[in-house]
């Protein structure tokens, strides 16, 4: 903890509200390997948090802990007032409120785009088919590819697939969106179309945690930037602070390498 630099508190959009995500001293090990060390962070509703750091620093593991794709072994994670525990109904309730977008898209290849998007609302939220499909069409228009509705994922480009993946996550009307390196598997010319969708989403007031290497995105959209190294948050702050006056030598070194 002593290493954590005292930095100006990020300006939350609605700073006086209850945080929607609360992580307190979260620890996780893969076998003997200590992946997350005393990670504590609060995220306010409508806040956009960008997580950066070198590979292997635990940033992906951190956001996967938030919807319990990974299990933390120490500390507390409270999402939307519900604490993550072994209680299966708790996990299901939380996952319903958290959308996630993966680096490898993870679309369901045996279902059409429409089925990919409408499956979860119908099966989890018990929406009637008409409502789920109407929602799917609305989201496809929002991400800009309504014409692909009846195709299979294998027939789409990477950027289109990732936009479908975002639409799929949004179809559950989540309160929080997690992005795990959403542009890392994309060709350069497709990155922009995905980032544009994410920017639009951030402007609409979605609470987002984004693990990314896109510094331009972080600078433009983030309310707060977290820098992970060796499983802990080394430094955090507003983008202006972070990209101009970061204090920690590790941060400086990282920024000097990628900027």
């Amino acid at each position: 903890m002593s290493e954590l630099q005292e930095t100006p508190r990020a300006t939350s959009v609605l700073a006086d509200e209850e945080p929607i995500i609360i992580c307190r001293e979260v620890n996780k090990w893969f076998g003997d390997f200590h992946v997350l060390r005393d990670v504590s962070v609060d995220v306010q509703p409508q806040e956009v948090v960008v997580v950066i750091g070198p590979s292997g620093s635990g940033k992906s593991t951190f956001i996967r802990c938030i919807n319990r794709l990974e299990e933390h072994q120490e500390g507390q994670i409270i999402v939307d007032g519900i604490e993550m525990s072994h209680d299966i109904s708790n996990i299901a309730a939380i996952r319903r409120e958290i959308g996630m977008v993966f680096q490898q898209f993870n679309l369901f290849p045996h279902l059409t785009v429409l089925q990919n998007i409408s499956l979860a609302p119908m099966k989890v939220r018990q929406w009637p088919r008409e409502k789920a499909e109407a929602k799917a069409m609305e989201l496809l228009r929002r991400v800009g590819i309504p014409e692909q509705v009846n195709k299979y994922p294998g027939q789409l480009s990477g950027g289109q697939q990732q936009r479908v993946a975002i639409a799929r996550a949004l179809a559950m009307e989540p309160k929080i969106m997690l992005f795990d390196e959403p542009t890392s598997a994309l060709d350069p010319e497709m990155i922009k179309e995905v980032l544009d969708v994410m920017k639009e989403l951030a402007r609409s007031g979605m609470t987002m945690i984004v693990v990314t290497h896109e510094m331009g995105f972080a600078r433009e959209v983030a309310d707060r930037v977290l820098f992970f190294d060796h499983g802990r948050i080394v430094e955090q702050g507003t983008p202006e602070y972070f990209f101009t006056s970061a204090q920690h030598p590790r941060t400086k070194e990282f920024l000097s390498q990628i900027l």
């Binding site: 794709l69 996952r95 959308g99 996630m100 993966f102 490898q104 979860a120 559950m172």
Partner: protein, 682 residues
Amino acid sequence: MTTIHNKQINAVNYEEPQTKSPPLLSVGPLAWIKNNLFGSLMDTILTVVGAIVIVSAVTAFFTWALAGANWFVIIFNMRQFLIGRFEPWAEWRVQLLALLVIAVLGWAVGAWSRISRGVFIFLLVITALLFVLPPVIRAVVPLSPSFVSAGETAIAYGSVAQQPLAQLGFIGREGEVITLRVAREYSQNDRALANSFSFVDSPLNTLRNAAENRLTIEARIPEIERLLAGDALTPNQRALLTADLERLEVPPPVTETYHLNEFPAQVRLLDGATMEPISEALLSGESEPLSVTLPRDGWYVLEKTVPDNPEAVTLIAAEGIYPMLERSFTRSASIGPDGETIAAGRVTQYIRMTDIFLVEGGRPRIEGTDVPFENIVENQYRGARPLHDYLSLYLAPFFQQINTGFLWLLIAGIIGYWGARLTDKYFSPVEKPRLRSQRIAFWLFIALPPVAFILVAGFGILPPTSPPLWGGLLLTMLLTVVGIVVSFPLGVALALGRRSSLPVVKGASIAYIELVRGVPLITVLLMAMVLVPFVAPWLGGPDTGPYRAMVAVTLFSAAYLAENVRGGLQSLPPGQEEAAKALGLSAWQATLFITLPQALRAVIPALVGQFISLFKDTSLVTIVGLMDLTDVAQTVVNQNEFLGLRREAFVFISIVYFVFSYVMAMVSRRIEESGSGAARRI
């Protein structure tokens, strides 16, 4: 374009470029032959050797099939091969089932695929040929006459001595014409006699063998003389050959010994019921043939003697008299086709092998003994069979036997196919033109197995049939379908169980899979026969053999299916399950909607392979006394009349097994290659 203009390149070629044909050996069939068959020395050797092997094997097979094989064993036992001893009164249920199955398959083809015009025309042509060919063959190529001998002398050859029968019983149909004449074509010399063919009686066959033997000796003597005249022999060989030559003695010609056809034969045709003569004649080589039109269905007796010389034998060619088969069995009382009661009792049937014409009841008796009859053991087809006899003897009856069934099945298939097409035309939404038919096809497939089982076994208003009588292809298919339908969900459950996080479920699944996979199917079958009644006492009765075999086959197959499905589940990237979880789907929903469909699709080849081997493995139930297709083949060739016809029976069931397996493999390939399936892969 712009750059070219900017640089002011002004050499413009307005002429059409000349087309030059490629070198002769680079494209086209010649090039294909050169590149694929004779690419190198090794390729050439392999091509030539392979071609020789293939050609000789195929030639040998077809020579045997057309000129030697006795396919009567198949034609006569077709019912056994298809349904075993299934009760005749319930046979219509199996026929209905076959029509239903074909209709559903036709529907499935209409729902997921299309039949091209070519295939459709092909099927129609085949059906038409099945109906047209038999009468055409009958009209164009009449069956060779059968040959019988007359005379009072015993024909001796080696240790065999056969005397021609004075009387011969046979059955005939009203209106048939029997033509008798002296078989002059076989009495010219011994070579003609040795080369005789068609149905012949035992004395004539002995004559054939004697003639053949004489010709062999005759050929051997000049050969030995030629060798002795040369100087390539050692003294020892010379001595042996000389001794041989002294021992060898050419017997007098067989045709002369027995005065073959030198004396006329007295023939008399009697009505078998009244023993009244219908017609008689003295047949000599020069006389007109005797033609008799039979007055009614039933038994007749042919009396034949050579009155002028007790030493002489005369051969009679008889058109219309053909060998038949005697069958005796005990029949339980039943209701006949016209509603009359058929009493229980011992029944003897005589069936003519050329057209399955059947007469029931005893043989005519002369002086208190049954008349010997033209039967298929004593009067076998001898000699190399010419193609026209193959056509009229086996192909025409076979076509006639299957043409009606084939037509009905084709109609059922067409009804199913067009049912699906019309359903789509009128009821499917425009954006999903095949939605309705595919939905209905799905439910038809779900409904088919229980319907099949009810039809075969009986339920409710359908009186139950006796399981031990199920047999032939019917039993094979029953075991296969039940095996597939039940073992599939079981296998999926075991595969999921093996991946479960619950130790007990996981342990039980692993134990089951490994135990079953470690035991041969025969052992499982034998165990099921004795152990299933302990677990399920209602399966302990004497009539439940097929059910116990179904249990064994199902349990066995499930273990292998489980491993196949597990392979499919393991091949999925972990991201699929994570994505499903992240969307809030429960573990069951994720399995049902996300992982399982993909896993099954990935292992379709392995699954169908498992189904095919299940289909073939059902032949092992013959070990536990069930009459499946293989067992019917074995039983049939163990009957007196069909001794020595193993090849025919086993070739036939091989073809049946192959056709079904190949269709399954073809369907699996089509599913794998189907358009949406290909697009679904990332």
